[in-house]
C-alpha cells in the first residue's frame, strides 16, 4: 500500500509541518512514511508545496510525488493561482480550507472535502503572529475525509509536535475540523 499526498499552502502557513505531523500520525499506526518540502523561493506568502508518503513497507522511492492520491490545500485563495488538481489521481480527494462549495471553486468532477479551517482557528483564537493556524485543523479534516489515519493518531502527533497549551488548542482544532468537514462526493453536501 502506498498513498501519496501533496499539500499546497503559502510560506508561513505550516505546510511543511502539516506534512510532518501527518507522517508522524501514520507512523504511530505502524506505517512507513516520508515527508518533505519542495523548496522554491522561500518567503512568506509565496505558494509552497509539501509532500507525504504513507506506505505499508519501507520505501525505496526518493523522487518527487507526481500523481498524488490526496491533495490538501491550506489557503482558501490558492486555487486561483495554482492548479491544485495537477497529477491528482482520477478518484483522488482534495481537502480544502474554504467556506465555499466545490462548484464555486471550479473543482467539478473532483472528489472534494471542505472545512473552514480559518474559521476554526479564529474561533479558538489559534493565531501565530496574528495569522490563523490552519494546519492542525486541516489534518483532522484529512483524517475524516480520507480514512487513511485515525483521529487519535493525528491528535497524538499534534500533541507531540506542539506542547502544553498550544498542543491542546491545536488538538481541539483538529477535533473540530474532523467533526465539521463535509465530503461533497458522498452526498453529504
Amino acid at each position: 500500500m502506498l498513498k501519496e499526498i501533496r499539500i499546497h499552502g503559502r510560506g508561513g502557513q505550516g505546510s511543511v509541518t502539516a506534512a510532518e505531523v501527518l507522517a508522524h500520525a501514520a507512523f504511530i499506526e505502524g506505517k512507513w512514511v516520508q515527508a518533505f518540502p519542495y523548496f522554491g523561493a522561500e518567503r512568506r506568502g509565496a505558494p509552497v508545496k509539501a509532500f507525504a508518503r504513507i506506505s505499508s513497507a519501507p520505501l525505496l522511492v526518493h523522487s518527487q510525488v507526481y500523481c498524488p492520491d490526496y491533495v490538501i490545500v491550506l489557503d482558501p485563495y490558492l486555487y486561483k493561482v495554482v492548479d491544485v488538481t495537477e497529477g491528482l489521481k482520477k478518484d483522488g480527494v482534495i481537502v480544502m480550507n474554504t467556506k465555499r462549495k466545490p462548484g464555486e471553486l471550479g473543482l467539478e468532477g473532483w472528489r472534494v472535502a471542505t472545512v473552514d479551517a480559518t474559521g476554526i482557528a479564529l474561533e479558538l483564537n489559534l493565531l501565530v503572529a496574528g495569522l490563523p493556524v490552519v494546519n492542525s485543523s486541516i489534518l483532522g479534516a484529512f483524517a475524516k475525509a480520507s480514512g487513511e489515519v485515525k483521529l487519535e493518531s493525528v491528535l497524538q502527533a499534534v500533541k507531540e509536535t506542539w506542547s502544553g497549551g498550544a498542543g491542546e488548542k491545536n488538538a481541539r482544532a483538529t477535533e473540530l475540523a474532523y467533526e465539521r468537514v463535509v465530503r461533497w462526493w458522498d452526498g453529504e453536501g
Partner: protein, 392 residues
C-alpha cells in the same frame, strides 16, 4: 534503549555526532546543510551534548578550526555543502595530509554558477582528489550509521584519514523518514574513545606538517595512498561489526541488487541507487535481466568490486549525477579505468542525469535501462555519454 524516530537525514547526522561523543564542532551554515548544525547547536545549548560549538566566519575557517581541534586530541565534526565545501578546498588537502580523522557530513548541492540550492553530486565529487574517504548514502538510516562507522574507520591507525559522509540535499537532508537510533551504551562499545596518530601537547611542543623537501615528500604521499588501500579492506570489516551489533548493513563498498544473472547492470550513486531498485523490479517483471549496483564508497574507489561485478555482464550503464567538464561523468571514467586491464569487458554507456536537482524517477531509470538493453542487443552503444531528458 534503541528507539525509532521519524526525522530528517540532517537531524540524524546531528544525532550521530552526539552519539559519537564529538567534542568540537566548528561550522558555518549553508543551505541545505543548516539543520545539521542547528540540531547540534540545540544539543550543546541544552547540555545534552558535551561539546564545544565554534561559530566561525566561513567554511574555510570551519575546516581549519576542525584541524586545530583534532590536533589537540578530540573527536571533531563539521558539515557543509557546495560552495562551502569548495571554500574549504585547500584545508581539505591539509586535513588529509595531516592525517587527522575528521568526519564531515556533506549535504550534496549543485555547484554554482548558475546558483542552485538543489542536489547533485558535483560538490563532493570535485573534491575526490583531496585524500578524504567518501561515503554516499541512499537513505536517512545510512547517514546516521555511516557517520559512526566513519569515526571507527578513520581512527584506525592503519587509516588516520578524514572522511566525508555525503547525502543529497532535500532528497535526504529535509525528508522525514523513520530511522533506528541504537542505545548509547552499545554505540560506546562499538566506538572507543578518540585516537589519532599524533597530538599537540603543550608540555612537549612541536609543530606538524612542516616543509618537506623533495627527498621525503613522495613517501608521505605514498603513505596516504596506503591508508586508502587499507581503508578499502577495513570498510567492510567495520560494516560487518556494526551490522552484527545494530542489525543494519548495506552490502559493502558496492551494494548489489539482482546482479547475479544480469545482462545489464546499472551503476549508480546516492538515492538514484534506491529508485533504481524499483526500476529493476519493474524490468524483471517484464522478463528483462537487469540489476543495479550502488557505489557506496567513492574514495577509495572499489576497483576490485567493479571488476568482479563486470564478470558475465554484457553491459554496464552508469548514471552520473555530476559531470567533469571536458570529459565525462566521474563514475563513468573510474569504472572504465577499473576495467581497462581486463581482457573481457562489458559494453559501456554513461548517462548524465539529475544535475541541479532535476528529479530522477524510477521511470527514468527504467527508460535508460531499456535504451541500454537495445544497444546490448545491437552490440554497439549509440553514444558514450548521454545527457538524460535534456531540453532541445
Amino acid at each position: 534503549m534503541t528507539r525509532m524516530v521519524v526525522d530528517t537525514a540532517n537531524h540524524l547526522a546531528g544525532y550521530a555526532a552526539k552519539a559519537a561523543r564529538v567534542k568540537v564542532v566548528a561550522a558555518y551554515p549553508i543551505t541545505p546543510q543548516t539543520t545539521v548544525v542547528e540540531k547540534i547547536a540545540d544539543f550543546v545549548e541544552s547540555g545534552e551534548m558535551d561539546a564545544e560549538y565554534i561559530r566561525v566566519e566561513s567554511e574555510h575557517s570551519a575546516m581549519v578550526a576542525c584541524i586545530g581541534a583534532a590536533a589537540t586530541g578530540v573527536r571533531t565534526f563539521t558539515a557543509t555543502s557546495a560552495q562551502g565545501l569548495a571554500l574549504m578546498h585547500e584545508a581539505l588537502h591539509w586535513a588529509s595530509g595531516s592525517r587527522l580523522p575528521i568526519v564531515m557530513a556533506v549535504v550534496n548541492r549543485a555547484m554554482g554558477a548558475p546558483w542552485s540550492i538543489w542536489p547533485d553530486l558535483s560538490d563532493s565529487l570535485s573534491q575526490r582528489d583531496t585524500g578524504w574517504i567518501q561515503f554516499y548514502c541512499a537513505d536517512n538510516q545510512e547517514v546516521f550509521d555511516m557517520i559512526l562507522q566513519a569515526y571507527k574507520l578513520c581512527e584506525d591507525e592503519r587509516v588516520f584519514l578524514p572522511a566525508m559522509v555525503c547525502l543529497e540535499g532535500f532528497i535526504l537532508s529535509h525528508t522525514y523518514a523513520p530511522a533506528k537510533l541504537p542505545e548509547q551504551s552499545k554505540i560506546d562499545e562499538f566506538l572507543p574513545p578518540y585516537k589519532c596518530g599524533w597530538m599537540l601537547d603543550v608540555d612537549r611542543p612541536y609543530s606538524h606538517a612542516n616543509l618537506v623537501s623533495p627527498e621525503w615528500y613522495m613517501e608521505f604521499r605514498f603513505m596516504i595512498q596506503e591508508a586508502m588501500e587499507n581503508a578499502k579492506r577495513l570498510i567492510p570489516q567495520v560494516a560487518n561489526d556494526y551490522g552484527k551489533r545494530f542489525g543494519h548493513g548495506y552490502g559493502g563498498l558496492v551494494e548489489r541488487y539482482k546482479c547475479d544473472d544480469a545482462d545489464l547492470v546499472l551503476l549508480t550513486m546516492g538515492t538514484i541507487g534506491s529508485d533504481a531498485k524499483l526500476a529493476v523490479d519493474k524490468l524483471r517483471q517484464e522478463g528483462l535481466k537487469v540489476g543495479s549496483a550502488r557505489v557506496r564508497v567513492y574514495r577509495p574507489f572499489p576497483v576490485e568490486e567493479i571488476v568482479d561485478l563486470a564478470k558475465n555482464v554484457r553491459m554496464f550503464a552508469t548514471i552520473d549525477r555530476h559531470i567533469s567538464f571536458g570529459m565525462e561523468g566521474f563514475l563513468a571514467s573510474e569504472v572504465k579505468a577499473s576495467l581497462f586491464g581486463q581482457k573481457d569487458r562489458p559494453l559501456f554507456a554513461g548517462f548524465i542525469a539529475g544535475l541541479g536537482g532535476r528529479d530522477v524517477t524510477a521511470e527514468t531509470v527504467e527508460k535508460l535501462a531499456k535504451r541500454s538493453l537495445k544497444w546490448t542487443d545491437l552490440g554497439k552503444v549509440e553514444k558514450e555519454t548521454e545527457w538524460v531528458d535534456l531540453r532541445e
